[in-house]
Structure formats: C-alpha cells, structure tokens
C-alpha cells in the first residue's frame, strides 16, 4: 500500500517543467497557422471613425483585417457577470489598449507590419480614469445605459453597490465611552504579471471550433464560445494547457472570441500571443479607496465597524463586481463584532478591465481594516496581538451572521506567528514589528466531476478538469488516487485541459481545487472501491458484508489482497477496466448575499520585522513569518510554495507595484522595465512559513484551500512594522521608498527634534 498523501510527493509535470518540455499555449505548433496582431489606439477613450486597411492588406501574407464592421450586428458581447464586453471595440474605445482591429497574416512579421499600417480615424474623448472623475456628477458614462435598462445606477458609473449589514449600528454608535478609530486607505491598480503572457489560438474543427487558451475555467470558456458562435457545447473543444501562471487573470475569456471569429472567417487556425505590455492592458486588480470607522470598548472589545469602499474597476465588468462583493463581505475579518455596516461600490472607469487576482477583492479591504486594527491598538494602548486574540472568533462562532461558522482554531495560527517572530521581545534600534491577519470566504458554490479509470494492470488514469497553473493540482489528485487505489504514484496519470475528454469542472479559482476536485477524485476512487468489493464478493462467492475495501486493499475475513490482484482476476481474459465517477457539488443559496455560504475560510496570520532606511525610505525585511490554517497539508512542498509565493507576491503590491497613468488616461509603465515585481533580491532575509493542521476542512482528509491566505495580510503587517520602527503611519500603497521617505519628512517636521 502506498501512502503518499501528506508527503512531499514530486510534482506531476515537474520533469517537463525542468527539461523545457512543458508545452504552454505559445509552444504548441499548429499547421497552416496565421499570426494575429491587435491594432490599438494611443489614447484611452476615443470615438472610432473610418478604418482604412488598404495599406495593411497590401502587405504580403496578410489574409484578414478584422474590425467591428466584419462582426455580426449587433456586436456579440460576453462576460461572466454581465454580457458587456464586445468581441472587439465598437463605436468607442473604452481604455488604453482596447483593440479596434486585428490582423491575421502568414508570419508574425507580416502581422506586426500590417497592424502598424491600419489607419484608424478617431476623435479623442474625455476619459474617466480615476475614481474621482468616474464618480463626478458630470462624469462621462463608461457603459451605454441601454446595456442595463433596469438598473437604477445605469446613468452613473456605479455598476453595483453592495451592502452587508448586521446588528444595530446606529444604536451601537451611541454607546457611551467608546473609542472610535477611523482612517482612509488607498490600494493601487496592480497587475497579475504571470510570466507567461496570455496566449490564444482558435481553429475550425470539423463542424465546430477548437480553442487553445491558458484559461483557468475551460468549461466556462466553452460555454461562452458556444453562446457567441451559436454552437452546441459538444462542438466547442477547449484545449487548456497548463497556464504559465494565472493568479486569477486567466479565469475568463478575453480574446478567444475574437480569435474564433477570425478562424471562421479565414478557415484557418489563428494564433495570438500577447506581449507583456498587451497583457498589462488586458488584466489587472481593482484599485480601492476604503474608509473604515471602528468602535471599541476601552478594553478592546469590538462594538461596531462602518466601512465605505469604492473599488475602481475597469471598462467592462468581467468578474470585478464579484471581487467587490466578496472582498467587502468579509470586511469584518475573523472577529466577532455585534454590528457592522459595509458598503462597497464597483465603479466603472475608462481603464483596463479589472478581474480576479489572488485574494479576490479582499487584500484591498484587509489593507484598510487590519491597518485600522493596528492603529486602534495604539490608541487603546493594547498590544495589537492581544487586541486580535481578544476579538478573534473561536471555532464554531457564527462571526458572520447567516454564514458558515468559524471553521478553524485561528488563535493557534496567531499565537504561532507571534512566537515565531519573538513578539514582545525588544527589537534592534531602527527596526519594528507588525502583525496582521487575513480571512477570505472560500468558494460559495461549486461543481466538480471526476472520472477515474483503474486499468487491468493496476495503473490509474484520473480525469480532472482543474487547470494546473502552478498550484500543483494534478499532483494532489495523483496522490489521492495512489493512496485510495493502492497504486504507485508514478503509475497514475492525470488528464486535464481538454473539454472534449475531461468531465465538467466549474472553475479553477478561490483556492478550491484540492477541496472540490479533490473530493470528486476521492469519491470516484471510492466508487471504484465499491465495484471492487462487489467483484471480490462475486469471485469469492461470499456476501459483500464480509469484505472491506480501503486504501488500496481488499480485506476478506483475515486475508488482505491488493485491489489490483482482485481486479486482474475479476476482469478475466478480456481485460478491461473499472471506471469510477465522483462529484462534489455545493449548490447556490439564493437568499444569501453572496449566493452561498463559504465552503471554508482561508485564514492566515503574518508577522514581520522591518528595518527602515531613514535616508532613503527603503524598507528591508530581516524576518518574515507566515502561518496559514490549511486543515491538512496534502503536499507540504506545494503548500509551502503557495504560502511563500503568496507572501512574496503580497510584498509586491505592498512595496513597489502600481500602474502609473498620464493625464490622458494612458498607462505609462507598461512592461517589465518600469513596473517592478519582487526579484530574488527583494526577499526577506529570513522567511519562515508554517501551517496549522487540525484536519478540520471539507476537503479530502480534512484539507482546506490555502493558496491565497498568505497574500491577504502582508500590507497591514508591514505598515504596522514601519510605524513601530519609525512612528510614521502610511495609509497609501505601495510603500515605495519615496512615499516612506516623505512620511518620515512630515513626521520630522511635525515633531521638531528636541
């Protein structure tokens, strides 16, 4: 019997990754393929005039120049929340980078040359590319109000206003003797920056269409394509090779619909590999301004919280409004508080459509509310660690009324982090410590199917539609199947990434896959165990009641036989296989504000020690500690990779990342030179990732999702440490050296040296 769950089993696909054989979309050759290049305008918002493609079409090798006039009328639109995104810009560009035309040519060179020769007449229009301009009463409307006729906000740029309220906040505010702490916090626009720029291919496929995309949700893309092309699902085949990083940015359709129309127009395969600059103009995280007011009893007990947040989403809704809903919903964090009023608006703007990005709307809120907790601790004169422990929900507490009760012993993680950072011990001069926690509601609905085939020689094929984008999903599924069916890990093959072959999976998001698809795989294996049990009963001529099958073993009375031996005998001369199916479903709850309760919560506590260079404002991190409550680490190597990776990614938006805009709404720092992400030189000197494993999650063997938790509290933990080190309170991200230096200057001028 193998026993690989819980071990550092080698990554499925690891060998291909270290030998260069892993084929990402851009690495897949298609015969007779045409190369596509997008045509964009050097402005944010413009009325599109005549498009003259004569010069472009004269370039040898050009086969097609497609623009809105070549597409069906009315323009087909798509989007996961609202069908508001056109296949290609029509009438007006909505943001810097919104494509107005696309060229398909025999070579990449010809496509690029021709794209530069497409002449587009346009009239620049005033854009609303900041929250202020988008919310102004005379703001230009980003969306045509006719797209949402029944919406009271249709004549504003507010796409939606979310309100989460419990308790009686008006009464709470009137309680005597309360300490009220408030502040406004700003979180910038940042981008996913997967090292694999987005890549797409489409090709006519019999009487249907084949799509290749580094997509997180292949089945969702299949549905979108079927609807746009008026095809049955069975005629849309989505190939979804492992994404080279996704982080939420590859959840939903972007240019796949355009590519499909181009493939059908030319009758040939077409291929579009975005540049990194174009990828920056395709996906980003929503910026936010969050105002938070929290009332405490003098002993630190929470009494009320009042949050008002404006998220700057982009020109099309994508999944951004959902990030606002979910991010604000848990704005109270993991604390018990008798009353709360949380208001959060999704504000459309003439900017790159924002979408899912690790943390899904929560990092913006957590930056504000956890910074607020740290400021409150100072005002109250209570240790920030104690303030958290005092208010933290205990296991089973209904801390968000009507939702899943606290599903972890979170204080254990908080105490562990404190211990690991030596909380309370003196720091060296110039240094400071900070602590913060992050909580995120996991998936609220979900549906994953898996099929598992136990072959006659005892080897196993698992079909699981999760996109393996670095989290190592296939490894987890292989580990589960190996243990449940008694097969060596290296005898398990996991097939994913092809909707014509692999059963339906709703999506790869919200750190769900180990839980949802993991359970589906587990149940498919147990379905096989049940069939093996019946087979063994038949072979032995005894009742099934006397037989148990588990962990790869068949037990008949005192005898133990490997599953594979029973199967070989049972299948007989014709061979064959045993097929198991498994499913995990969490249905929608229509009355719930999010459409469903949390399948699990992600919880993380982060504690840091920083050193601030007073001359330059540069923050260095001598020690960094992250502790996540993971339920059960199915693969500790991968858990560590996700936890540390999330933490370092969080250091990116905390210390250095942000889009910079010019006065006309164009992004000035497109690409890797002027948009910095953490490198090996930006790591904490000492980084320690630990986990709490109480096997209290809904996934296989007690696992919970855990891939986003460590990103959630990075910013407030670092900010608190900077305050501890210097006295400066910073409420805007990123905490760049310039911003920290300015804060220190202001502090010095406010407090003349004595």
């Amino acid at each position: 019997m193998s026993d690989v769950v819980g071990t550092r089993a080698p990554r499925v696909g690891g060998l291909d990754r270290v030998t260069g054989r892993q084929a990402y979309v851009a690495d897949i050759p298609l015969d007779d393929v045409l190369h596509v290049k997008l045509v964009t305008l050097p402005v944010a918002r413009a009325r599109i005039g005549a498009i003259d493609d004569a010069a472009a079409c004269a370039v040898p090798g050009v086969q097609l120049v497609m623009s809105a006039r070549d597409l069906p009328s009315p323009m087909p639109r798509f989007g996961p929340q609202r069908r508001d995104r056109p296949v290609i810009a029509t009438g007006e560009t909505k943001y810097h980078g919104d494509p107005v035309a696309a060229v398909a040519a025999e070579t990449k060179d010809a496509a690029e040359e021709a794209a530069a020769l497409v002449k587009v007449a346009y009239e620049e229009l005033p854009p609303a590319f900041t929250l202020e301009t988008a919310l102004a009463t005379d703001a230009p409307l980003v969306q045509d109000p006719s797209l949402r006729p029944d919406d009271p906000h249709a004549n504003t740029n507010v796409l939606h206003e979310h309100r989460h309220v419990w308790g009686d906040i008006e009464a709470a505010e009137r309680e005597p003797g309360l300490v009220v702490v408030e502040g406004s916090y700003q979180f910038p626009m940042v981008t996913q920056f997967a090292i694999e720029p987005h890549a797409f291919m489409a090709a006519p496929d019999g009487d249907g269409i084949a799509i290749w995309s580094a997509i997180q949700h292949p089945n969702w893309l299949q549905r979108v394509m079927a609807e746009l092309l008026k095809l049955p699902l069975s005629k849309v085949r989505v190939h979804a090779p492992d994404p080279g990083g996704a982080f939420g940015g590859k959840q939903h359709a972007k240019y796949e619909p355009l590519l499909a129309f181009m493939a059908l127009a030319t009758g040939r395969p077409v291929r579009l590999v975005l540049t990194l600059e174009e990828t920056f103009q395709a996906v980003r995280r929503g910026a936010a301004q969050v105002h938070v007011r929290t009332g405490f009893h003098p002993d630190g007990a929470l009494v009320f919280r009042d949050v008002e947040a404006n998220y700057q989403i982009g020109a099309y809704a994508d999944i951004a409004d959902r990030t606002v809903a979910k991010g604000s919903y848990t704005s109270m964090g993991p604390y018990v508080c008798p009353s709360a009023r949380i208001v959060a608006r999704s504000v459309l703007s003439h900017t790159v459509p924002s979408t899912a990005f690790r943390g899904f709307g929560n990092p913006q809120q957590i930056w504000a509310v956890e910074s607020n907790m740290n400021e409150a601790a100072r005002v109250l004169g209570i240790d920030p660690l104690e303030l958290r422990l005092k208010n933290l929900a205990k296991p089973g507490d209904a801390f968000i009324p009507g939702d899943t009760p606290a599903d972890g012993d979170w204080a254990v993680a908080v105490r562990r982090a404190a211990e690991m950072i030596d909380w309370g011990s003196p720091t060296q001069p110039g240094r400071g410590r900070g602590i913060a926690v992050g909580l995120k509601s996991g998936p609220t609905t979900g549906l994953s199917y898996s099929t598992v085939r136990l072959l006659v020689d005892g080897s196993v094929v698992v079909y699981a539609g999760t996109s393996d984008m670095g989290q190592g999903a296939r490894t987890i599924f292989a580990q589960i199947a190996a243990d449940e069916l008694g097969t060596p890990l290296e005898w398990v093959t996991v097939v994913s990434g092809d909707t014509a072959v692999v059963p339906y999976d709703q999506q790869t998001s919200a750190s769900r896959s180990s839980v949802f698809m993991g359970n589906a795989v587990l149940r498919a294996c147990r379905d096989i165990q049940a069939k093996v049990r019946a087979m063994a009963a038949d072979l032995e001529g005894i009742d099934e009641a006397g037989i148990t099958v588990e962990r790869g073993q068949v037990r008949i009375d005192e005898r133990t036989i490997p599953i594979a031996d029973v199967v070989k005998r049972g299948l007989g001369r014709l061979g064959g296989e045993i097929i198991g199916i498994g499913e995990m479903r969490k249905d929608a709850e229509p009355d719930h504000p999010l459409g469903g309760t949390a399948a699990f919560y992600e919880f993380n506590c982060t504690a840091v020690e920083v050193e601030v260079d007073r001359e330059t404002g540069d923050i260095s991190i001598p020690k960094y500690v992250t502790v996540s409550d993971v339920g059960k680490a199915l693969n500790p190597n991968q858990v560590r990779g996700q936890d540390e990776g999330a933490a370092v990614m969080g250091l990116g938006h905390t210390l250095m990342e942000h889009y910079i805009w010019d006065d006309a709404g164009r992004i000035r720092n497109l690409g890797a030179i002027d948009y910095r992400i953490p490198t090996s030189m930006d790591l904490p000197a000492d980084m320690d990732s630990d986990i709490v494993e109480n096997e209290d999650g809904p996934g296989p063997y007690g696992a919970k999702g855990m891939s986003e938790g460590a990103l959630l509290p990075v910013s407030p933990a670092v900010a608190a440490a900077v305050t501890d080190a210097t006295g400066a309170v910073i409420r805007d991200l990123p905490m760049s050296p310039e911003r920290v230096w300015q804060a220190l200057q202001e502090l010095d001028s406010a407090e003349p040296a004595s």
Binding site: V18, A23, I195, G245, M649, A672
Partner: protein, 181 residues
C-alpha cells in the same frame, strides 16, 4: 532576406537561415523549435529567455540570431545529458522549485551559468546571480534552496558540463513547420 549562420546548439552543429532582424530567442523558438526557452518581456528584464552563449548567460531576446554565428549555445533542452538530468534539474524537482514552470528554464540556465562560474556560491551570490530571473509564483526560496542543494552535491564535479559541437545538419528555414515534440 535570410542569412545563413552556423552555430552549435546543445552540442549539435546547426545551420540556420535566419532573418537578420530576428532575435536569438525567435530563432531558437521559431526556426529551431526549441520552445523550452520562453518569451515574456522582450526587453531583457524577466530572464525567461536566458540561454548560455559561449559560457555567458544571455537574454536571448536582446541578441540577434545572426550574432550567434559561430557561437556555442546551451538552452534548457541541453542541460540534461541523455536521461541523466543536470544536478540543478534534480534539485529543482526535489525542493519543489518549479510551480507553474514558465520561468524555470531561464532560472535553470542562469543557475547553470552561475555554478559553472562559481561552483560553491554563497546565498547572496545565488540571489544576485538569479536576480534577472523573475518568478511570479515567487517560489524564490525553493529556487535558492535548489541551487544550494545542487552546488553542495555537484558544484565542482563536472568541469566540462556542456560538450561542444558533435554533428552538423543543415535545415531550418524561417517558417519551417516542425512536428510537435
């Protein structure tokens, strides 16, 4: 108008008709179908396209293909010797350094160039040596550990890790179609 160049790629002599404006990265990926070398930023900042040219690690997006005439090049595909993985590849697997994997070819090649130069680097030398290789999964800790592990095991063991030219075959026009790997 293409230019014919002769070079050695992963120990094998190659003759390539390359467009003079194409980068070494384009030549490797499009003309030689060596797609292990990855394309990301195209401005020499991300390191995904790192290859070794005559012993030096180079961002292949910043070098023209024609400039590689006469050079000996090692890409990720050339790190292993037959079925025997480079110690770095083994260590990357062992520490779980490869997550999505897209940056990994560049990380491995940079690390190979580093270890060829400094068989037993300090942690700081590793961090500096790989500073030009971005990893957005941010598996840096596990990558650094893998390089340390490989160095500890094999750093100085193999004085000539990349044997040069062996055979020559003439092929590749710019748009040659290549069978899937």
């Amino acid at each position: 108008m293409t230019t014919r160049i002769e070079l050695t790629v992963n120990g094998r002599g190659r003759s390539v008709d390359v467009e003079p404006h194409h980068t070494l990265l384009e030549m490797l990926r499009d003309d030689l179908a060596l797609t292990g070398t990855k394309e990301c930023c195209l401005v020499g900042e991300c390191g995904a396209c790192t290859v070794i040219v005559d012993g030096e690690s180079v961002d292949s997006c910043l070098m023209l293909g024609v400039e590689a005439d006469g050079a000996a090049i090692t890409t990720v595909e050339g790190l292993a010797s037959g079925d025997r993985l480079d110690p770095l590849q083994e260590a990357f697997l062992e520490t779980g350094a490869a997550q999505c994997g897209f940056c990994i070819p560049g990380q491995l090649v940079s690390a190979r160039a580093l270890l060829d130069d400094v068989p037993h680097p300090t942690r700081t030398q590793i961090e500096e040596g790989l500073a030009g290789n971005l990893c957005r999964c941010a598996g840096y800790e596990q990558i650094m550990e893998a390089v340390e592990l490989a160095a500890a095991r094999h750093g100085a063991a193999d004085p000539a890790p990349h044997p040069r030219a062996v055979t020559t075959d003439v092929a590749s026009t710019p748009d040659a179609k290549v069978a899937p790997q």
